[in-house]
Symmetry: C2
Subunit: 395 residues, 2 copies
Amino acid sequence: MAPALTQGRALELAAEQLRQRPWQALALEPAIPIDALPSPALLLDAAAFERNLLRMADFLGARGKGFRPHAKTHKCPLIAHRQLALGAAGVCTAKVSEALVMINAGIDRVLVTSPVVTPDKVALLHALAADASQLDVVVDSDLGLELLRSGASPDAPVGVLVDVDVAMGRTGTRDVDRILRLAEGAADTPGLRFRGVQHYAGQVMHVEGYERRRDKSLALWERVAELVEQLSRHGFAPEVVTGGGTGTFDIDCDVDCITDLQVGSYIFMDEEYLRIGGSGSRRFDAFEVSLQVALTAISQPRDGAITVDGGYKAFASDSVEPVPLDLPSVRFRFAGDEHGVLILEPGAQEPLLGSRQRFVVPHCDPTVNLYDYYWVCEDGLATSVWPIAARGCSW
Amino acid sequence: MAPALTQGRALELAAEQLRQRPWQALALEPAIPIDALPSPALLLDAAAFERNLLRMADFLGARGKGFRPHAKTHKCPLIAHRQLALGAAGVCTAKVSEALVMINAGIDRVLVTSPVVTPDKVALLHALAADASQLDVVVDSDLGLELLRSGASPDAPVGVLVDVDVAMGRTGTRDVDRILRLAEGAADTPGLRFRGVQHYAGQVMHVEGYERRRDKSLALWERVAELVEQLSRHGFAPEVVTGGGTGTFDIDCDVDCITDLQVGSYIFMDEEYLRIGGSGSRRFDAFEVSLQVALTAISQPRDGAITVDGGYKAFASDSVEPVPLDLPSVRFRFAGDEHGVLILEPGAQEPLLGSRQRFVVPHCDPTVNLYDYYWVCEDGLATSVWPIAARGCSW
């Protein structure tokens, strides 16, 4: 008994810390000019953000597809509530801790998109199900299913989606026998419900060129459709077939078996997606850059270079470099955790020391993870603060 | 008047949020096995950490040099208190927000190592000086000095160090006239004190091979020593000459003019430093890996690969890849924000699903920035939780 109790205790400590986080908006009255915010500051352009929200909802609605936006992008219950209000089927979270923050803030339809294979997190999932109208989790292993079965309660059923992977090689399975076994095991367990299938092909999202991306994504979904077909033939017709992302929503919407798209980055956009947009996407320019980081020019180490006060702690560094929004002919180079150096081409406008500069972020999700809140801006003024309540929720 | 008040208000909101953060230790009784912590978990091996602390203090003490450890590494007032107890001259922070967290937690000697050039942050510095026995900040521009002069108060003097850069090109200046002007301006202002010089050469820290690193570092310090000499000739003899880091402490300790070393990573070690240690450092193996991240094996996408539950949100991705501690012949590959894939060589031991695996972190400072607390461990058990109270303090 003792080890199990101890195990639960560590997770409960971590969970309690998350439950105490504020998640509601703080209005700023009077509003504060962007140039008066302490930098680095994460800015959310409310108008562009709202247009992005509506465009995706309209686009998919017109094609009869649902959307189940990924909250790993924004980590913000206020944004999740807005997405549900626009008709989302629910939101996705990558981890159980993110699901806890969302459900704690009243988001009542959540899908956890990573397999959970430890008893403490499974126990928390079962507990969270009591506070949600629909809590789903993916499974891709017999161990995962076995753990989910233990502790399942018909009073607070947990939905199970089989995580299907045909090519990516991260999580999920393509083993037909296993897929059928997991579906059957979920369907046969009081307290669990077999809900369907998830398929996410992260490797396709940033393929350059719409046609190439389309060919790759549809080829994968063809194989998924065959597996869905087999499940149906065995009496496990999926009620949900979910997947895709901002890189493929305008491709995957043509796949018959899909019920909803797990779009995430469309609300913000980032430099990674802007780059593929410029190389052949049909509909990619539909979304605007609503997320920016404001930095301050703090030093001039030499002619042609200005140091700003943000580096690896201001931007995720897993992909491309941040791009200055207001300074043509200027490149940002990382210069450690706390600094970047702007490299000015000859003749480029030189930012003054003390001036604020705005940047497009390289990769939105892990960049958001570095901040505690968004400064929500309208017409150059910050009008409210939205907590990033699920920041750092990696467990 | 209105804009200035508004500016102060934004910073005050951000500051208040930091002041409310808990920073004291939470004891875990009974202790919790590492394998029962929710993963990803940031682990601090208390015994190795304590040995690292003592070794640096002893090494520099024996050579008559002080140390002013950089709190940007640990972001944890509890660790700063321990360093002060071992004789540190004070701690460094990269930004004003970090200084606020430290001073709020009773750390009373702080040097802010980045120039501050906006009125709101300068006003906060002046306010913080009242709660510290010695608050210092670097300056490298006339604008920076001018702002520091405004609002300076003899009741709570702020110390000023000139940030000298001879080669790195990030912050600091090598302009003799400006260096003298800044020193004189600080010395002449009631409420400011000229304290000395900072020189940090980040580009030298990870040069492979002790002799090469030594040649490079000493060549730079020779130029700094000339500038120090000039300051002294003009009546501004520095009381503090501070700089260096974990990559050069055993080199820079031989530089006469240096008073104290800004060592940071020595308390934890990381893969970046371990790699240069293996290629010719004399004294580098003195430090042990005390910082680790524990992940869980959650999926097996194919033979020879196991997916673990940590990616860009579990490790900083600006340098090398994390290294498995307990699994020889296994490589970690990033697979997105939330996952990594372990690549097993043929015949390598295969981790079981659900098992915990520990990793050396690639780069300690920005990795720590991803977590809210350390699980402090002794003999395989977590015995307390230490809040990373200055996590995310990039402003």
